[in-house]
Symmetry: C2
Subunit: 146 residues, 2 copies
DNA sequence: CTTCTTTAATTGCATAAGCAACCTAAATTA
DNA sequence: TAATTTAGGTTGCTTATGCAATTAAAGAAG
């Protein structure tokens, strides 16, 4: 194994949530600025639905790297907020297909805008090349341990 | 602003917890393999205490980038597990100094070992130079939005 | 001193995650 | 076609997080 001891301490603390926590909080804050009353976790579900409706809970679980109970509860809460609905799949009655409500669709523009703002704040001052390397590293790390 | 659209989608999902979630889960699993019955969050507290005891809760909050209530409850749970104790600071009675118990100290070797294993699994196959770039990027991102 | 402000920690309330156990429907296979 | 296995979701239990409001001690200002 290579000697990663030079950077592992700080790197580890970054990997273990420091950066992603900071991003979540910032996204949360920005959503609030945009008058969106949703959590950053709910945003990740809506994000995928804004791109494509009718996903199953299992598909959402895979896309967001969460377990099934987490999705069940996120969908419960989003249903309570009248942003999505479960539609039982006629071809496979085990599955729920998740659709946005009108309310849910209305949030798309602002939701996309605030996440774009967030990511631009996050990567401000960084060059494409280093971002690309960072992405490759994160991708590789994810493949290593997922 | 630079055009980050090429990578932002995937990058964003990495930043928003995919990688850190994977690492947490892996650490959790490895801790379990090492017969350590603690959560990965508890590990992050213990980690700092293994390096230096007598930190205040506020210091732990800063080190782990959590808010004070989170620390209060993590310390509560660690106290229940008899791994740490709160000692009221005689010079500033608002503060608690957090010390490890014998039990808590006993976990150091295995705790450090399992986290080292975890990080080595995570960065397997990656070169020092790309890790360094990734770390710089994450650092910059953190500075941008913290 | 006494008042005002800041700081450390706690509590309450709501949301979210992980894991294990469970239920039901679908797919396999015998 | 009956029996078994697999897959999609849900529920229970425990832990963790964020935010706002609160208490108590310390420090600063008058």
């Amino acid at each position: 194994m290579s000697d990663v001891s030079i950077l592992s301490d700080e790197f580890y603390s970054f990997l273990t949530g420091k950066v992603s926590t900071a991003i979540s909080r910032r996204l949360q804050r920005n959503l609030k600025c945009g008058k969106l009353n949703i959590t950053s976790e709910q945003w990740t579900i809506l994000y995928h639905l804004w791109l494509e409706e009718g996903l199953t809970q299992q598909e959402l679980a895979n896309l967001t790297f969460r377990d099934k109970p987490s999705i069940t509860r996120l969908i419960n809460n989003l249903e309570k907020l009248s942003l999505v609905i479960r539609v039982n799949d006629k071809h496979d009655r085990r599955s729920n297909l998740i659709y946005l409500t009108k309310e849910g669709r209305k949030l798309k523009d602002e939701g996309m805008k605030q996440s774009a703002i967030t990511i631009n704040e996050a990567v401000a001052g960084l060059g494409l090349e280093e971002l690309r390397v960072a992405q490759q590293v994160l991708d590789k790390v994810f493949q290593n341990i997922k």
